[in-house]
Each structure stands twice: as C-alpha cells, then as structure tokens.
C-alpha cells in the first residue's frame, strides 16, 4: 500500500511522515509528483502556516491538484487532511485576503473570534474531540490543536467532530472517503497515532 504524503513546501511533513510510520505505514512517499499521487492508495495533505500560502503552494505545482482530484474524488482512495490541509478542503479561506480552496467540502475558513477577550488566540494545546454520531475514523478524546482560523462548513452533515474555544470549533470534517482533522494527529500522542492507524486500514 503506497501512501502519498503531499509535499508542497508548506507542511510539517517529517512529523507527519514519522507518525504515519509509527502508526504502521510501510510505504510513505513524500511527493509532489502527480504521477505518484495518481497511483497512491492513500493521500495525506499536511499543512501549517497560512491558508493563502498553503493554497498557493499547492496550486503552484503543475498537475498536482488535478491528480489529487482524480485519485480522491473519482477513484475514491482514502484522503486525510491535517490542520491547514483540512482547511484547504473548504471552498475558500479569508486569511490574508480571499483565497480559493479545493472546494471538496463546501464551507469557509474564518478567523476564530471568541467574544471573551481573555480567550487566547491561537487556539493552542490539547482540547476535547467530541465525535458526531456515526462519524467514520475519528474517535473521541483529546487532540492537540494549533490554529487561529477555523473551518465553517455549509452542511452540518460534513461535521465529524467538534471542540470549542470560546466559540464552537469544528474539529473534523468529512464525507465519503475524505476526512480532515483540525487537530494534529501527529502531535497527539496515542490518540493521534490511533487515528492514523485506523486511517491506514480505512476503506473510505
């Protein structure tokens, strides 16, 4: 089983690769090559930093988004997006101006704006992951979050898990063979590694 871990210059790639290996992955290809993505059995999109920088980095690689769309949307191989990699699933982000996302899960990525000024931004640290009934892959527990923007999906049915940081925060989104986690499984000790192990077994 080949897993394509997308390298588009914006990710915390090696942490995710290390965690996937610890979770049992044997063939992790760190790649930006559309031909490798086109044959992968799993696709993982990491991401840290800003939505805009990540979206631009992804779009700058010729044929990569098309290959991801063919493999994930048409061939339906399991996909996992992490943090900004999850946010990129949205229609658009509003960090540093409006930027188009992949649009695989309709919604918008907006700044976290808790009414209580004593609540610190970024949302940084371990917080609850409360799973929606019937959600695949994601389990309840405590995950490590690190973000200032959050995914606001158009359709509630796409919310797989929630948390809160002064305001309700979507902790995971998904549909069909696609899952995105706002928290960092690669930095969430056993809770995170277990999720990655399930992802490796997941048939979508």
């Amino acid at each position: 089983m080949t897993l394509a871990l997308i390298d588009y210059g914006a990710g915390n790639l090696h942490s995710v690769a290390n965690a996937l290996k610890a979770a049992g992955a044997t063939d992790v290809a760190i790649t930006a090559d559309p031909d490798v993505v086109a044959k992968a059995d799993r696709v993982v999109l990491p991401g840290v930093g800003s939505f805009k920088a990540c979206a631009e980095g992804l779009n700058a690689i010729d044929g990569l988004v098309q290959a991801m769309e063919a493999r994930v949307l048409t061939d339906k191989v399991p996909f996992l997006g992490i943090c900004v990699g999850m946010q990129l699933l949205a229609t658009r982000g509003v960090e540093h101006g409006i930027t188009q996302g992949l649009g695989w899960i309709p919604g918008e990525v907006r700044l976290l704006e808790p009414a209580d000024a004593s609540i610190k931004i970024p949302h940084m640290g371990w917080n609850d992951v409360i799973v929606a009934p019937g959600a695949p892959l994601v389990a309840g527990g405590e995950g490590y979050f690190l973000h200032s923007y959050h995914f606001v999906p158009e359709d509630e049915a796409h919310v797989l898990a929630r948390t809160a940081h002064g305001v309700p925060v979507v902790a995971a989104v998904g549909r069909d063979n696609i899952v995105g986690a706002q928290f960092h499984p690669e930095k969430s000790q056993k809770f995170g590694l277990d999720l990655l192990t399930r992802f490796l077994d997941w048939q979508g």
Partner: protein, 253 residues
C-alpha cells in the same frame, strides 16, 4: 470543553547532551535528550522544550541531529530554543522536526526576526522569549546574558511588540526567579498575559506543584514550564495535571 493548561518540561541541551538531567528510572543513557524526550512523551507531557546552550558551531549541528531523532519517536509538540538568530536558523530546526522555535536574545537586538519567521513559517511556530527582572515595583526590564545584562527595555512594552510582530506565544521568564524554586514572578506573568492576546507560558522558579497552579490562577498563564521539579523526580507530569485539575483548571486526564 476548553483548551487544557499545558505542562511543559524543559531540557537544557549542550553539544547534544542533556545538562540538567532527569533521573527517570530505566534510562540507559540519562544524558541522551532523545531518551528523556521519549520518557516525557510516555509520561504524557503536553509539549516538550529543548533549550540549546551550546556555545560552538559543532554543538548546533549536533542539536539538529538530536531534534531529528527526537521527532522520530516523540509525538507531542517540540519547541527548540537557544541561538535562533534568523529565519534560516528557524528553518533548519523546523526541517529537522521542531514544531516551534523559541527566539531569545535575537528578539531583543532585532525584534524583526520574529516577523521574518512568522511571515515565512506562520505565527504558530514562533515562541518569543521575554526574559525580565523587576527594576521597581510593577516595572520589569528585559535582561540578557542569563539575567546579568540590563537592556533598559521595558518588559511589558517589549512583550506587546513581540506579539504584534507575529509571535504565536510568549515565554515569560523571571530572571529573578529562575533557579530559585520560589515560584514564578506572578505579577510579571499576569501583567504581560493580560496585555496580549496570544498565550503566555510562565517560566522560571518553579519549586512545587502549587507554583504551577499559581502561574495560571494568579499569573493568568496558558501554559506552565518547569525543569528541576520534573527532572529530579520530585513530581511527575501526572501529578502536575492532577494539581491543576484539583484547582479547578482544565488539564489532561
């Protein structure tokens, strides 16, 4: 549902070896930062901090190797500080596997280094250090060289500036308290935490679990950093979490 108070053990690393050691049982090589990191990972530390105190260039290369090996076996956020002077230094550490870099003295002489790193890698990966001493009641100044050299810079103004420049969090260390085991400088921590919108990590002076609790309840910190109480086996991470929970604060179970 609320974000947990983070308990962060900090290891001093010099030339690839831990200086202030941990007396965990079962460590084959207690001077190996990777083994200690692994032990803290297993103990449920919320994050880990390496502070590099290598003086030499070779020491830096060794540090990158330590960070790389640590990232392979530790699945919690790792902050690495000490000697980060440029976005290039930050890049090397992040590529090796650090999740965040802490900027110390460079942020005093050239605060723009914070915005350089934030623009390239995002605010989430930059921890700006505020090393301060009290100069009169209610006023603190930034000190460098391990607290020996005054800079004349007001600590509160400096902290606000670092947050504005894009630091994702501030590591506030009382140079008066560091190493004393008398507790954090709560007034300093609170003054800064109340003035900035980013999280503040309290540091310097922890001698017991009550100090950790006070850092949050009275210092308004979002995270508590400590070294010796954990290293010398006085308390475990689980005990720290338990003390926070007993005080009604959110901490990991």
């Amino acid at each position: 549902m609320s974000v947990r108070i983070r308990v962060i053990p900090c290891l001093d690393v010099r030339d690839g070896r831990v200086v202030k050691g941990v007396n965990f049982v079962d460590l084959i090589d207690a001077g190996d930062p990777v083994e200690q990191a692994r032990a803290y990972d297993a103990a449920g530390a919320d994050e880990l901090c390496f502070l590099d105190i290598s003086a030499s260039h070779e020491g830096r290369g060794t540090l990158l190797d330590v960070v790389r090996r640590t990232a392979e076996v530790c699945f919690m956020p790792l902050t690495v500080g000490g000697g980060v002077r440029s976005a290039e230094d930050a890049r090397a550490l992040l590529l090796a596997g650090a999740d965040k870099v802490a900027v110390n003295s460079a942020a005093v002489s050239r605060p723009e280094v914070v915005s350089d790193i934030a623009e390239k890698f995002g605010s989430q990966c930059i921890v700006a250090s505020v090393d301060a001493r009290q100069v009169e009641p209610g006023r603190w100044e930034i000190f460098t060289h391990g607290g020996r050299k005054a800079t004349g810079i007001d600590a509160l103004e400096h902290a606000i500036k670092l947050a504005e420049l894009g630091a994702g969090e501030l590591l506030v260390t009382s140079m008066d308290g560091d190493g004393t085991q008398n507790g954090y400088d709560l007034a300093l921590t609170r003054t800064i935490a109340d003035a900035v919108s980013v999280p503040v990590i309290a540091s310097g002076g922890v001698g017991n679990l009550d100090h950790l609790v006070a850092g949050v309840t009275q210092g308004h910190a979002s995270a508590v950093l400590a070294a010796s109480i954990f290293h010398f086996g006085k308390h475990t991470i689980a005990e720290a979490h338990e003390a926070l929970r007993a005080a009604g604060l959110p901490a990991r179970a």
